[in-house]
């Protein structure tokens, strides 16, 4: 299996494309800044949201029980799934029990995490993703590359080709307006013909037993309100104590995600529609384990805005697929090792530890600290490449011996001056996609010494 850096190298082979990807995400980061800077109370909101989430995690068992009791009283069926397999079985049994073999689904990273689509398809159930970006990656048979912007890695011409093949749009048509209209017509028919709709959950309120779902397209609502059965899958960390806390999280979420003041729709589902069945599936899948990890518990505060991805210099230049986990970017890199340390050992190293992720996080997750902590855990557990370990040992020896360090620096600079080809070749990993710098005539230390002498 290729690791993050190998997959990034492939992504980086097309320089123009990687620049386009980088600039698109940075533009979204700038929109976020613009929206955030209009609110003088932004830091107060972040602090409050962080405290509410911390409090909720410290009392999660009670809030889960309260939520279930309220939801049951609202006429909702509540299911508990310890892991992905159990979640998928629950969905399948609800569909089978109602004689349904086709379902429409709005955005849910949890169902991606559980690989629900593949499971249902293997069991004869057709699933259609209704979020436009998710529909596009579904047609392309790819996973989403970003939790908020699933097809941010795709060019409109590629989407045009997919639509030409699957939705009969004219060959060569790549106008976003035309393509979106084609998807609207196609999916409208899907919404009107599917008896079951599955949605994700952004927030679940313990006090009232209601769930809240945010979309810009209206696809979650179109699906749920036209279907006989509404299934909603949620991780157990989605709970918040009270309805009024939604005010704080809604002010933070869309501004952090895309720079919008709020998503077009913020839908509150408390009871099923008259004659409708509503099911909520509460999923653990490693979350209770993460709750017990002191250093990493805070990652469960995440509200899935994607701000950490948009700002991350590594994500922007490596693309979401290089992470090989449902949730990519900095937050994915601290969530994934909790599920499988060995498989995702590369991810905490896919960072410069610059801390920008932590700075933009609306719920104040210390992402870069956790990335650093995971590195300690992974090295300790022996999941890190021996080459990296020896390189680190050599570096620390070098840095601990100043005269050796000075000598190596001098020799290195001299060699770069006489024989640049010694460095500018394929054996040097730093030379891939980079120009090597011109060697300076003297080191800072040499310059400083000389300056002192000259001034003295």
């Amino acid at each position: 299996m290729k690791d993050h850096s190998e997959l990034s190298a492939i992504f980086n082979a097309d320089e123009q494309r990687v620049n386009w990807h980088d600039e698109t995400l940075w533009w979204i980061r700038q929109k976020r800044d613009k929206a955030v800077n209009t609110l003088p109370e932004w830091e107060l909101l972040r602090e409050n949201a962080s405290q509410i989430k911390q409090h909720t995690l410290s009392n999660l068992s009670a809030y889960l029980e309260q939520f279930e009791a309220k939801a049951l009283a609202n006429g909702v069926k509540v299911h508990w799934a310890a892991n992905a397999a159990e979640h998928n079985e629950i969905v399948l049994s609800i569909l089978k029990g109602n004689g349904i073999n086709r379902m429409v689904k709005s955005k849910s990273m949890l169902t991606e995490e559980c690989h629900l689509n593949t499971f249902l398809e293997n069991n004869g159930i057709e699933v259609i993703d209704s979020d436009l970006g998710e529909r596009i990656v579904q047609l392309a048979k790819e996973p989403p590359s970003h939790i908020v912007l699933p097809c941010i890695h795709k060019k409109k011409e590629e989407i045009g080709e997919l639509f030409h093949e699957h939705l009969d749009t004219p060959a060569g048509e790549a106008d976003p307006q035309v393509l979106t209209e084609a998807a609207r017509q196609d999916l409208r028919n899907v919404f009107l013909t599917r008896r079951a709709a599955l949605t994700g959950v952004n927030f679940a309120v313990a006090e009232t037993g209601e769930i809240m779902i945010c979309t810009n397209e209206g696809n979650a609502d179109m699906g749920a309100h036209l279907a006989d059965i509404h299934l909603a899958s949620m991780g157990i960390e989605k709970i918040i104590p009270q309805r009024r806390h939604l005010g704080i999280f809604l002010r933070l979420l869309a501004r952090s995600a895309t720079g919008q003041p709020i998503t077009t729709y913020s839908s509150h589902f408390r009871t099923p529609r008259l004659g409708q069945q509503m099911h909520i599936i509460l999923v653990d899948n490693g979350r209770s384990q993460q709750l017990g990890r002191d250093h990493f518990r805070n990652a469960l505060k995440c509200i899935r805005c994607g701000a950490c991805m948009n700002t991350c210099p590594v994500y922007r230049k490596s693309g979401g697929h290089s992470y090989q986990y449902t949730i990519s970017g900095p937050i994915g890199s601290i969530l994934a090792p909790n599920l499988d340390m060995k498989k995702h050992a590369d991810l905490p190293f896919a960072s410069t530890l610059c801390g920008s992720c932590t700075n933009v996080c609306p719920v104040k997750i210390d992402i870069h600290n956790q990335l650093y902590q995971w590195r300690q855990e992974l090295v300790g557990a022996g999941y890190v490449d021996a080459k990296k370990k020896w390189a680190m040992k050599a570096m620390s020896f070098l840095f601990a011996h100043p005269s050796l360090f000075a000598w190596v620096g001098k020799v290195g600079r001299r060699l770069m001056m006489i024989g640049p080809y010694l460095f500018n070749n394929k054996l040097n990993p730093w030379y891939h996609q980079r120009e090597m710098p011109r060697a300076a005539k003297q080191s800072f230390r040499e310059w400083y010494k000389q300056r002192a002498k000259n001034n003295g």
Partner: protein, 198 residues
């Protein structure tokens, strides 16, 4: 057999940290000039804001801006000329051909252009989504500064369903180009009715 519920709750209880309390914050908000702030925010999310003096003017506004054809539905008894859902029809699929829905909102949020529509205002949950165009009527009393005040107003309302709508349905999934009319309405107009009762 231990159920998954018991297993999950036991694991959560064992692993959750010691109780952490939190301090409720008070975020002061200016209540000045809310309709203008709302109009600006709504424009930024792709919606349109108009001011009408009386409810009676809604019909002529519709005629001028949306033409005569097409199925128009309203939940307002005052708009008697429009089709209501007095025809008790609980099948949401029968709304697939609605071209315009005229609904009233209880709350209009100045910071983001969002309108609060509880279930009792919308006839059928799907109506504000399935209609090709949406008109939302608000009174001057509906305006609040931010989402905090919106939830204060909602309080413990026992709605079965409720939604904040801020602008027409939209997407930017294709190369970040904004397209209005993703799955829901292609336009959203908020009408401030200055004198609600005639």
């Amino acid at each position: 057999m231990v159920t998954s519920k018991a297993r999950i709750l036991r694991a959560v209880k064992a692993n959750q940290p010691n109780f952490i309390s939190f301090v409720d914050i008070n975020i002061p908000q200016s209540a000045e000039d809310l309709p203008n702030k709302f109009a600006l925010a709504l424009g930024n999310v792709g919606g349109k804001f108009v001011e009408l003096d009386h409810l009676q003017e809604v019909q002529s506004y519709i005629n001028e801006n949306f033409g005569q054809g097409g199925r128009v539905l309203s939940s307002l008894a005052e708009l008697s000329k429009l089709e209501g859902l007095n025809v008790i029809d609980t099948n949401p699929h029968h709304l697939a051909n609605v071209s315009l829905a005229v609904l009233s909102a209880d709350i209009a949020v100045a910071e983001n252009g969002a309108c609060w529509l509880p279930e009792r205002n919308i006839l059928q949950r799907v109506l504000p989504f399935i209609a090709q165009h949406l008109i939302i009527l608000v009174s001057v009393k509906a305006f609040v500064a931010t989402m905090h005040q919106a939830y204060e107003t909602i309080g413990q309302d026992a709605y079965g369903y409720g939604v904040f709508v801020a602008g027409p349905s939209k997407t930017a999934d294709i190369e970040q180009s904004l397209v209005l009319g993703a799955h829901g309405p292609r336009s959203m107009t908020v009408c401030l009715i200055n004198e609600w009762s005639a």
